[in-house]
């Protein structure tokens, strides 16, 4: 009994080894690429489709699909652009796992997606190692194209630093000097607060910071925090929150009467996705910045995009996530056309400095840091009679080039 057993095991081991040796030379065939793509271009999307921020993931996917429908009518390099999606459940380790699967198993040409900043950074590190282009379209971490940026990482969303610069420029023109910073205690919150404050201090040196309040992400009840800020009586409050925390702040600001007493600015406060859940009960007079509205700019290009989106998706309005993903798809198509070949390195070279027309006008993929240069709009919330939700009014467009950190600063940041 025992002898047959050992013979069996030995046979197994030997055969496994033999197969292993036989398989080894062909284990890693170099992927050869035909100069003219006979095959489809494959984009692997890792994004959040379950958990709190799932709405962003779904909006982005819709925007991306809409663009592909337009692009694939004529095709790119004689082929279509296809995509596969994976749900990261807003967990960075799952996101990283999924990205690996898309690269190793699905053999995608490009990675894109992610709401989650930590997932973006993790996937970005993996993309660099494996030389796969990765385009971040919803997360706002400035590290993606800043400190942790590299040849293979791109970003088509506005990042926290750009938003902070845009906010600071507009705030400096207001007559406030005593500020308070309040926000969600995570990287995005801190980086947007730092960017805004440092930039504001530079433009208007007399401003002073009275104090700061930070709460944990997902904090259910913000009333104690706002009560604290309110009793300190600052001239203005800079809020640094995102996601569902945004809606929370606006809601509490309205219900406690905070927004009537103290002026406040929050990046994305004037976003449709943030204001819509509040319906007609959102707080008026809140300053905000945003890089996309379905109603602004009131140009034929934007109208056409909104109409196509509404026709495709049950009259839903496109959100900023839809716009970013739509723009990303258009950039990918344009870059492949410019590159003339289905090659990752040529694709990256083509992306650098690429300019395309989008619903908000012409945008450029900046060559030095791979950050999309796009305008940011400053406005204030208002209830218009014809709408069931608040919209932004008195919109001032801040040009993309004015909110970007200098290329030299980026180099310094990366060199560190």
């Amino acid at each position: 009994m025992r002898r047959t057993l050992f013979v069996l095991i030995a046979a197994l081991v030997v055969s496994v080894m033999l197969i292993g040796c036989a398989a080894q030379p062909t284990a890693a065939p170099a992927p050869t690429v035909a100069p003219q793509a006979a095959r489809a271009i494959k984009v692997g999307i890792v994004d959040t489709y379950s958990g709190p921020p799932a709405a962003y993931g779904n909006d982005a996917l819709n925007g991306f699909k809409l663009a592909l429908a337009e692009i694939n009518k004529e095709g790119v390099l004689g082929a279509k652009i296809e995509f596969v999606t994976r749900d990261d459940k807003f967990a960075p380790d799952t996101g990283l796992s999924m990205a690996k699967e898309l690269v190793l198993q699905e053999k995608v040409d490009i990675l894109a997606g992610t709401v989650n900043s930590a997932a973006s950074l993790a996937i970005s590190a993996y993309a660099l190692e494996n030389k796969v282009p990765f385009i971040v379209w919803t997360a706002k971490s400035d590290k993606v194209t800043g400190e942790k940026g590299h040849r293979y990482a791109f970003m088509t969303s506005e990042n926290a630093v750009m938003a902070g610069f845009a906010g600071a420029q507009a705030l400096a023109k207001k007559p406030y000097t005593k500020f308070w910073i309040a926000g969600e205690d995570y990287e995005y919150g801190h980086s947007i607060a730092d960017a805004t404050w440092n930039s504001l201090k530079k433009i208007k040196p007399e401003v002073q910071l009275m104090g700061q309040t930070w709460w944990k992400t997902g904090e259910p009840d913000l009333v104690p925090y706002l009560t604290q800020v309110s009793s300190a009586k600052p001239d203005m409050v800079i809020f640094a929150t995102g996601g569902s925390g945004m809606t929370n702040v606006l809601k509490v600001a309205k219900s406690t009467g905070f927004s009537d007493k103290i002026p406040m600015w929050i990046h994305t406060a004037i976003d449709y996705g943030v204001l819509k859940p509040l319906g007609a009960n959102g707080p008026e007079g809140v300053f905000g910045t945003m890089d996309y509205f379905f109603y602004y700019p009131d140009t034929p290009a934007n109208k056409a995009f909104v109409k196509a989106y509404q026709d495709a998706y049950n009259n839903a309005y496109p959100s900023f996530a839809s716009f970013h993903a739509y723009t990303t798809a258009k950039l990918i198509a344009a870059a492949y056309k410019k590159a003339g070949a289905l090659d990752k390195e040529k694709f990256i070279d083509a992306m650098e400095g690429l300019q395309i027309d989008t619903p908000v006008g012409q945008v450029e993929m900046r060559a030095c840091d791979h950050q999309l240069v796009l305008p940011i709009f400053f406005g204030v919330t208002k209830k218009e009679a014809q709408n069931e939700f608040l919209t932004a009014t008195d919109i001032i467009a801040v040009a993309g080039k004015d909110v970007m950190p200098a290329c030299a600063d980026i180099q310094k940041l990366r060199g560190k």
Partner: protein, 298 residues
């Protein structure tokens, strides 16, 4: 300690009142969890999901009423009942067969339920953020002892004690309540007396669900409803129930007050470390009193 100098009496009082009102929601949810723990001996990890269902149900109900402010009041009554119904089905079909199992198995089982309920909520209500508006009567703020407190929080300060009173009347004065308390101490004995323990358990579980649903409906106007809201509450509820003494609803009240108040007052002293307070409070309490502040039925 620059912050200490900024603390005025008014700021202290308003933080205290707001902290107390937050404690009321925590109390209502934890009391439900604690009641189920006490009577059924089930550490119900899915309690947070029931709370989430309560909140989303409140959203649907107020939405159905449009701009009519009655919607909110109807939601306060109907949403907990919907949750109770979900709870009843769940208890009769599944949970009632498992009361003899080890606690760890019950944790695993209710965790599995939580996974399922979460996905069901997503199927029914979708992934978007939802928001419930409080009726105009409860908007704005009101003066309490000279400090301005948001009306809705003042409303919570009234509701909380009412719920506590209701729970006291139920457990001390009604027959079912007395049997439930007795069953918590010795369920075999109650069974021997010829009482149908199985239905007492079903009713006790429903009461826990009503409290979870009520907590959800009450919290709905103060935040945006998201799929992750069950996660935040469940850990807090478990910590509160633990420091109060497992299964003791008055312990849940004390635990909730401790939680709500230390967190909001902690903000005045050390705003950067507000996140730490609940956990630190639990550590301190449990090191001093290893089975919670009040007598546990466990």
């Amino acid at each position: 300690m620059e912050f200490l100098q900024q603390i005025t009496f008014d700021a202290f009082l308003s933080q205290l009142l707001v902290g107390l009102s937050r404690a009321m929601i925590l109390f209502i949810v934890s009391a439900g969890l604690s009641f189920i723990l006490g009577v059924l001996r089930v550490p119900n990890v899915a309690h947070g999901s029931l709370y989430m269902i309560g909140a989303f149900a409140a959203y649907s109900i107020t939405n159905a009423f449009g701009s009519n402010p009655a919607g909110f009041w109807v939601a306060l009554v109907v949403a907990p009942l919907i949750v109770a119904l979900v709870g009843l089905v769940f208890e009769r079909v599944l949970l009632s067969h498992l009361y003899q199992r080890e606690h760890l198995m019950l944790i695993l089982f209710t965790f599995a339920t939580m996974l399922i309920l979460n996905d069901l909520v997503k199927m029914v209500w979708g992934a978007e953020y939802r928001s419930v508006n409080a009726p105009a009567v409860l908007a704005g703020s009101v003066d309490v002892f000279g400090v301005s407190v948001p009306r809705y929080n003042a409303f919570l300060l009234v509701i909380g004690p009412l719920v506590a009173l209701g729970m006291w009347l139920f457990t001390a004065k009604t027959k079912i309540g007395k049997i439930a308390r007795a069953a918590a101490v010795d369920r075999e004995m109650v069974g021997v007396l010829g009482i149908n323990v199985s239905w007492i358990f079903a009713i006790a579980f429903m009461i826990g669900c009503v409290l979870a649903g009520l907590g959800g409906a009450l919290v709905a106007p103060t935040l945006s409803l998201t799929l992750g809201m069950d996660h935040t509450i469940i850990i807090e509820a478990f910590l509160i129930v633990t420091i109060g003494g497992l299964g003791n609803i008055w312990g849940a009240l004390i635990g909730a007050l401790l939680f709500g108040v230390t967190q909001s007052l902690g903000l005045l002293v050390l705003p950067q470390f507000a996140v730490v307070f609940p956990y630190a409070a639990v550590v301190i309490v449990l090191l001093l009193r290893p089975t919670g502040l009040l007598k546990s039925v466990w």
